[in-house]
Symmetry: C2
Subunit: 218 residues, 2 copies
C-alpha cells in the first residue's frame, strides 16, 4: 500500500504523481498545506515523519505491515523504478541511464532548489528583497538552467527529452515548466523544451498529475 | 579511460574524487579554475563539453574510442556504481538503497545548491547583500539541512552515515562538512555528523580526495 504526502502546487510532489500514474500505481494522496498557518509541513506530526519538513513523502507498507518512509522526490522516483519496473522511466544501458539522470538532476539540483518556497521566503523575509528582485531571481535560475538544458535536448530529445520514451527528465521538466509559466517566464526561446512539454501534456498520466487537477487545489 | 574535470575546492568534484579512490579507478584529473578570469568553466571549450558550465564533468572513453561525457556529480556517482561495481556505494536491497539515496539527496538538493559559488556571487552581486548577510545565508542552509540529517543519522548511522559501510551519503556529507568548517559554521550540536566525519577522514580514499591534497590547490 502506497501513501503520498504532497501538495497540489509542489513541483517535487508533481514529479512523483506523474510516476505513479505512468506506472499505474494506486496511492492514497494526503495533502500537506505548505502555506496555511505557517505551513503544515512544520507541524510536529509531519516533521516526525519527514525531518526535512518538505513534501513529498512516500510511505510504502508491505504485506507484513513494514513501513518504508521515504523523502526526496528523486529518491522516491528511483525507488518506484526499482520496485515497480513497469513503464520504465530509465533506459537499460548504463550510458543512456547516466545521461538521463544527469539531465533530470540538472533541473532537480540546479533550478528547483533555488526557486523553492522556503528560499523565496528567506529572500523576502530575512534578506528583505522586494517582489521585483524576487521575480528577477526566479527568472534568472530558470533561464540559466533552461538555456543549458535546451542545448542538451538539441542532442538528446526526440518526442520526449531523451528519445521517444518518457524518462525521469520529463518528470522533472514538466513541473518546472508549469512553474515557469506561473511566474510569467518567457520560454519562447526554448523550442525543444516547449515541444516536449506539449507532447507530455497530451498524456493522461501528466494531465491527471497537474496541480489544478488535485483534490486539494484551491 | 576516465577523465575528470574538477577543481580542488569544488565539493561536487570532491564527492567524485572519493568515489574514484574507493573504487580504485585511475582518472586523469583536469583542473577548471572556478574563479580566475571570471571562471574557466565559462570558457567556450569547457561550455561546449558541459553547457551547465559547472564542475565536475566525467569523460569515460571505451576501448572503441566512444566518449561518454557526463555532468552532475550525483549522476556521475550512480554511473560509476553501475559500471564499476567494486566497493559498492549503495546497498543491494531496494529499501536501503532508497534510504541512502534520500539521505544523499538531502545534502545534494537541499544544502549544496544554495551555497554554491554561483549563488553566493548572485547574492553579493545582483542582489548586493553584505558579507555578513552572505555568511548568515550560508549558515542558515547548513543548519537547516544538518539539523534534519542529524535526526535521520540517529536512526541510520553506524560507523558511517548508513550502517557500517561507506555509502553515497558519506560522499556527500564529507565535502559539505569541509565547506561548513571553511565558512566557520559551529557544528558541535551535530554529534553523529562529526563522529561519521572523523571515521571517514581516517580512510585513505577520503584523505587523498581532500581539497588541500589536489594538484591544483592554491
Amino acid at each position: 500500500m502506497l501513501k503520498l504526502y504532497g501538495y497540489w502546487r509542489s513541483s517535487a510532489a508533481y514529479r512523483v504523481r506523474i510516476a505513479l500514474n505512468l506506472k499505474g500505481l494506486d496511492a492514497d494522496l494526503l495533502s500537506v498545506h505548505l502555506v496555511k498557518d505557517g505551513g503544515e509541513q512544520h507541524k510536529a506530526d509531519y516533521a516526525k515523519l519527514n525531518p526535512q519538513e518538505l513534501v513529498p513523502t512516500l510511505v510504502d507498507i508491505d504485506d507484513s505491515g513494514n513501513e518504508l518512509v521515504l523523502s526526496q522526490s528523486m529518491a522516491i522516483l528511483e525507488y518506484l523504478e526499482d520496485s515497480y519496473p513497469q513503464s520504465a522511466l530509465l533506459p537499460t544501458d548504463a550510458k543512456s541511464k547516466a545521461l538521463v539522470r544527469a539531465l533530470a538532476l540538472s533541473i532537480a539540483c540546479e533550478i528547483h532548489p533555488l526557486n523553492n518556497l522556503k528560499v523565496l521566503q528567506y529572500l523576502t523575509g530575512e534578506i528583505g528583497i522586494a517582489d521585483e528582485a524576487k521575480s528577477a531571481w526566479y527568472h534568472h535560475w530558470i533561464h540559466e538552467g533552461f538555456g543549458a538544458l535546451e542545448q542538451q535536448l538539441e542532442q538528446h530529445a526526440g518526442r520526449f527529452c531523451f528519445g521517444d520514451s518518457v524518462t525521469l527528465v520529463d518528470l522533472c521538466l514538466i513541473p518546472q515548466v508549469y512553474n515557469a509559466h506561473r511566474f510569467k517566464v518567457d520560454l519562447t526561446r526554448y523550442a525543444n523544451i516547449l515541444r516536449v512539454s506539449e507532447n507530455c501534456n497530451q498524456l493522461d498520466a501528466f494531465i491527471q498529475a497537474m496541480p489544478e487537477n488535485q483534490f486539494d487545489a484551491v
